[in-house]
Symmetry: C2
Subunit: 438 residues, 2 copies
């Protein structure tokens, strides 16, 4: 199965664990069978490989997520990066073009497009295999997947099929309705729109060529900035005749807010926390290394992360967005391709960061004009380079990095470093990159 | 006025801002007229000086609080330190002996003893001046202060006076009763026991000599470890005849739990926090540098500190103690005589600490056997000494402190330092002290 996973979104609704650089699909709160917590991104990739070990996954995303994707799923999964953020039609076109030109997929092969964040069981991806077979053997055009609703919801789009058979033509699409209208749709046999598309590679390339004048993947990348920001729904679905929908009867959930998120948690508490016996129906997620005590809470969610603390009534939690938008806070935790960093302390002219680099990984060779840095190695073994001078480092070592020096570090075993930044200007923009030296 | 302030107590009920080394009287949450937050310790000392600019204050405390007291009220106030923690009778005897031998107070001078943590207005200390005058002019023995109750309470001890005059004999003491009994006491004219004692210095010394064989302050210090842990109430008040009580009609509150604490806060929020308009009757105290968002909360308290996070129903908050006792957490924030430190990160063999040293202050000259330390100066100017070698330091400088080296630092202007500790054993016990060198 060739599958394009659409990974986008900003992270306001699941603040403080998501933020402007960390979307909800990267939050690790789902316990897998090994007892480890995995993110939606990791969970979906694992599920796809469980259902189809030979799956050919391409993650379509924007620049800001690339490091985090490599961090979470490794670099064996292909990532197709939008040069700038546009909407789903250009993004899907780019990914399809990637499949043809870079991955060398035949034009007659089926392609499935799927959002990266459905909370589902493996039967969902088994249905996708069936969708692929339909596309492969059963003509051209687009086949969608629609989930049978279990209750009226004003959070999803609806597909009205022409009849109740497993595979039927789409009569109409309906945007998110109010609850009453949703109930009416359901009584007429409507399905939830899962955002899953199936088509032959050839189909979409031809469709795109009628709208965009391009000559393969590289040409598309070059002109990407000039592309209109237009959704796949608007560009294709709303104009296309003969779209079919495959009915899916299993569980499907879009987890977009804390109250839906905690419903899917297998535990009541993740992280250090205790609560007294007057607490009822509460969930606590604590990513910090300090304890949480809850007393006398009812139907509430407490979330503690590096970026902040949320204490909310479950129902109310879906209305968080405007409050997060008002915050003027820099993300304090980030996952990079080489590991993670957490900001520990911020002063006017100084910042202290804990950097963890995974075994075998390395930073870019880079320099800063306006700040000095100091690395104090807490644990692990590695190799640093400062202005071309190589040195092995381990716990207790200190590396001085005056402003202007080129530097990088490679972890031999997992390397934990305290980085103290000090200078007249401390911003992410003060960074010059050089050719790799390690 | 000679006044002994009793500063004791552990910090469980106001966790996470109080902890095993930081009692409630040190939490800075009371806004003073200058707009700054002050602690109960600072507030009470300020109030005493406002009422009696020539007051002679001695703070009676244990070793663990000395640094914090100097940090908060400076070193111009006398501190009398129990060599080990005993109960109020030995502690008061030691402080009285200090007043005679070290402060040189005449035996005929009145002495007032007062807990360090009453939440009162200045009229309380004006009543104390009146108490002092009564002791000075009006005979021997003990005079107490009793506050007129404003409601039945099961949190206070009661004094039953013989009549309703301003100064009357004590008929009986009553321990904390249940609410019904408290109401009965009040109907009979009972007063809340404020824990305030007035007596002539001579009186208490003579009383103590009948129970302890000692010869002045130094002798008492030497034998302090062998003293029985016995309360002043048990040793003196319950046996003494002719104790009088001075009636106090003003406001008096003992702030021991979060719900009583927030009642005295002048603001609903201290620190970075926002709440939505569905929140009602909430208080938020946030000492960390990350934002708190509260939504849909009713009658609740959220407290965020370096040691942990408390989310509690107001009523329930008084029952926190057993949950705090169960925590196995090291205090992450402490005030020292020279400034403050906050633990930023803890690993198995490493710890990162932010140290702030106030202008003019210095650490002890000391060394560690089992850990290396690195100082990275974030801001300020100072002077470091490492194995006798002096050096001036400022922002951007790094000082290496290998295990075994003797070191100290003095701040010229306020000095902020990141200290990275790394080694096989990181404990507060690994510290050898040497004679001051700065």
């Amino acid at each position: 199965m060739n599958i394009i996973l659409l990974s986008g979104g900003s992270g306001q609704r699941l603040w403080p664990l998501s933020n402007n650089i960390r979307s909800k699909q990267f939050i690790k709160l789902f316990r897998n069978n090994d007892g480890n917590c995995e993110s939606m991104m990791q969970r979906v990739c694992r599920q796809i490989y469980e259902v189809d070990p030979k799956a050919n996954i391409v993650i379509a995303t924007s620049k800001s997520q690339v490091s985090e994707i490599y961090n979470q799923v490794g670099d064996s999964i292909a990532v197709c990066v939008e040069p700038v953020r546009r909407n789903t039609f250009p993004a899907i076109t780019l990914a399809v073009s990637y499949l043809e030109d870079i991955a060398g997929i035949d034009k007659d092969e089926p392609v499935i497009v799927c959002p990266v964040d459905p909370y589902v069981d493996n039967d969902y991806f088994e249905a996708m295999l069936r969708l692929e077979q339909i596309v492969r053997h059963d003509g051209d055009g687009i086949v969608l997947m629609g989930a049978e609703p279990v209750h009226p919801s004003d959070k999803y789009g609806y597909i009205i099929p022409s009849d109740n058979s497993e595979l039927s033509f789409v009569r109409e699409f309906k945007e998110k309705p109010d609850m009453k209208t949703a109930a009416e749709y359901i009584s007429k046999g409507a399905l939830w729109n899962c955002g899953v598309l199936g088509f032959k590679l050839r189909y979409l390339l031809e469709k795109s060529h009628t709208m965009i004048d391009f000559d393969g993947y590289d040409s598309l990348v070059r002109q990407y900035t000039d592309m209109p920001s237009i959704s796949f729904d608007y560009a294709v679905l709303e104009r296309e005749k003969g779209i079919r929908v495959l009915r899916f009867g299993g569980a499907w959930k879009d987890i977009g807010t804390w109250n839906t998120f905690v419903d899917s948690m297998s535990e009541q508490i993740i992280g250090q926390a205790v609560f007294d016996d007057t607490c009822k129906d509460i969930h606590i997620v604590n990513e910090l290394n300090i304890p949480v005590i809850c007393m006398g809470l009812n139907d509430m969610i407490v979330v503690v992360g590096n970026d902040g603390i949320l204490v909310t009534d479950k129902e109310q939690s879906s209305k968080i967005k405007p409050y997060v938008e008002r915050l003027d806070s820099r993300a304090r935790y980030a996952e990079k391709s080489w590991g993670t960093f957490v900001i520990l302390d911020v002063q006017e002219r100084a910042m202290t960061v804990k950097v963890s680099i995974r075994a075998g990984k390395k930073m870019n060779y880079h320099s800063h004009n306006y700040r000095n840095e100091i690395w104090a190695v807490l644990s692990g073994d590695g190799e640093s380079v400062v202005d071309g001078v190589h040195r092995t480092i381990s716990a207790g070592d200190v590396v001085l990095l005056p402003a202007g020096c080129k530097h990088t570090v490679r972890a031999i075993t997992e390397l934990n470093i305290i980085e103290v930044q000090e200078g007249e200007e401390i911003t992410v923009h003060d960074k010059l990159r050089y050719e790799q030296i390690l």
